[in-house]
Amino acid sequence: MTFRGRAHKFGNDVDTDAIIPARYLSTSDPEVLKNHCMEDADPEFPGKVQPGDVIVAGKNFGCGSSREHAPIAIKASGVSCVIASSFARIFFRNSFNMGLPIFESDEAVRAIDGGDTVEVDADSGVIRDLTTGRQFQARPIPAFMQELIADGGLMEHIRKRGSI
């Protein structure tokens, strides 16, 4: 599978309160949450994000709360995948459990500018900046987590295989 879209660039330590502020957590409806995605990091983000776009961020993306409302909001906003230098651990597992593709590459994050068109080959982990022509390799994904993505998330995985 290939993802392709414009890059939206964010800094280090983007926390889950910035991704989806707690004041909106009285619902888990994706259609509501997407209107506030990344609001406290960039108030204009919900209005400008296009289907397929890519979030590119620094280290420790998704730190803080365990709220799955964060990956839900990102997915519902149309973002196809997130590239970061590193991910906070709960956000990392939530993304695989829910089927939000994420890729780790500090090199890619340093090189990609906001507004660049980015293409990611999910199978090989190759990230291409089509604006500059540069290419990067994301860190390999453990086999079990590849299985989760292929099955469509943890619950589908259990349904198909009968256990975790």
């Binding site: 009285s26 619902t27 803080g64 365990s66 597992r93 453990p142």
Partner: protein, 419 residues
């Protein structure tokens, strides 16, 4: 082996695993709250399974937006309540039985040494203070545990942090952990177990230990484990309704790193906006005028915290123009605080005493900040917009600094107010 490795091994069929391996583990306790349980229940219902694998190991606490702050929150609570009643859940805490989950579960004896606990709340790591392997997960992980009784875990390496020496006046577990996060950063222990040890930790109360383990996630940690000892047993024994196992790390356990801190160097701390790693000694805080003080939460809402705060506020008044909120973390803490006269001290000082709730910590309700306001809180996060308007600011500290600052209206060292 480390404590974490021993607990994982005891809960997994996989033998001889190494850090980085992904293993399946049996879960002793699976926890969710009114924000995270609804998604887990939806997923569970979608899967069409008639009953939970081990309903007696699942705990739901309605503590975040409770007492319900609006219609949407009330509906979320009702959704969880209906499910809990339908499934006859033994460990469902609502209304006057509910308290801030990470204060409530240890108090009720629901988490014990040697347990493997997952919770759809990032501060589940609090139970590391009891010598358990406890880690925050998402709602989907919880749904999977409700269905199968299991979870998947990427085996983490362990970083050991040793605290030596004696605590300086007014320093507590919160100050030690803020100092630690200040040293290693908000991703200093990313994906790792933090094993917190040393003579200074052995001398700490359970409340102080829980404040420390609670904030392991603020350094990116997967767990924040303190070996169970006599202090732990004294706390756990009268509460435990099932057997438990105490694990200690072997002499030849492999650590990714070992770092030692001398408590003689550690003053009461304040973490400046907008990351917990921005910790500095209160003496170097400068002149920061604050609009609101919050004393409570899963980090510092226990009776020991309230005693510390009351000791400083006794006979004094909250500064004019400042709102001081005190939220005992559980009903039992509240009752004890009434018995000891602490609530009288707070009310006489002009503080607001509220019910047990997570509300203000995450900008949910009861103490939302207006544009540009500053709060000093004994909570655990000071991210942008955490307690209200995105332009507001949160400073983190322990109960002593919070109480002293409530009296003066600016961030203040406890010894400047305490007699």
């Amino acid at each position: 082996m480390t404590i974490a490795e021993k607990i994982l091994a005891a809960h997994s069929q996989t033998k001889g695993f190494q850090s980085g391996d992904i293993i399946k583990v049996d879960v002793d306790v699976a926890l969710a709250n009114d924000i995270t349980a609804p998604i887990a229940i939806q997923e569970f219902r979608k899967a069409g399974v008639p009953s939970m694998a081990h309903a007696d190991r699942v705990v739901f606490v309605l503590d975040h937006f409770t007492p319900a702050k609006d219609i949407a929150s009330a509906n979320q609570c009702k959704y969880v309540r209906d499910f809990a009643l339908e499934h006859g859940m033994e460990h469902f805490f609502d209304g006057g039985e509910a308290g801030v989950e990470h204060a409530l579960l240890p108090e009720k004896g629901l988490v014990l040494p040697g347990d493997l606990v997952i919770g759809a709340d990032s501060h589940t790591c609090t139970y590391g203070a009891l010598g358990a392997f406890a880690t925050g997960v998402g709602s989907t992980d919880l749904a999977a545990a409700m269905m199968t009784g299991q979870a998947w875990i990427k085996v983490p390496a362990t970083m050991r942090f040793v605290f030596t020496g004696t605590l300086r006046p007014w320093v507590g577990g919160k100050d030690l952990v803020l100092y630690l996060i200040g040293r290693i950063g908000v991703d200093g222990a990313l994906y790792k177990v933090m094993e917190i040890a040393g003579p200074a930790i052995s001398a700490l109360s359970m409340a102080d230990r829980m404040s420390m383990s609670n904030m392991a996630i603020e350094a990116g940690g997967k767990a924040g484990i303190i070996a169970a000892d006599d202090t732990t047993e004294a706390y756990v024994k009268p509460r435990a309704a099932r057997p438990y196992t105490i694990y200690t790390s072997d002499q030849d356990a492999v650590y990714e790193s070992v770092t030692t801190f001398d408590c003689g160097d550690i003053e009461p701390q304040v973490a400046f906006p907008h990351l917990p790693e921005n910790a500095r000694p209160v003496g170097e805080a400068g002149d920061v005028k604050i609009d609101q003080v919050v004393i409570g939460s899963c980090t510092n809402g226990r009776i020991e915290d309230l005693r510390t705060a009351a000791g400083i506020m006794k006979g004094k008044r909250v500064a004019r123009g400042l709102r001081c909120l005190i939220l005992p973390a559980t009903p039992a803490v509240f009752r004890q605080a009434v018995k000891e006269g602490l609530i009288d001290i707070f009310l006489e000082a002009g503080a607001i005493v509220g019910p047990p709730t997570c509300g203000p910590c995450l900008g949910g309700h009861m103490g939302i900040l207006a544009r540009g306001e500053k709060a000093l809180a004994t909570t655990n996060r000071n991210f942008v917009g955490r307690m209200g308007d995105p332009s507001s600011e949160v400073y983190l500290c322990g109960p002593a600094v919070a109480a002293a600052s409530a009296v003066t209206g600016v961030i203040t060292a406890p010894q400047e107010v305490a007699r």
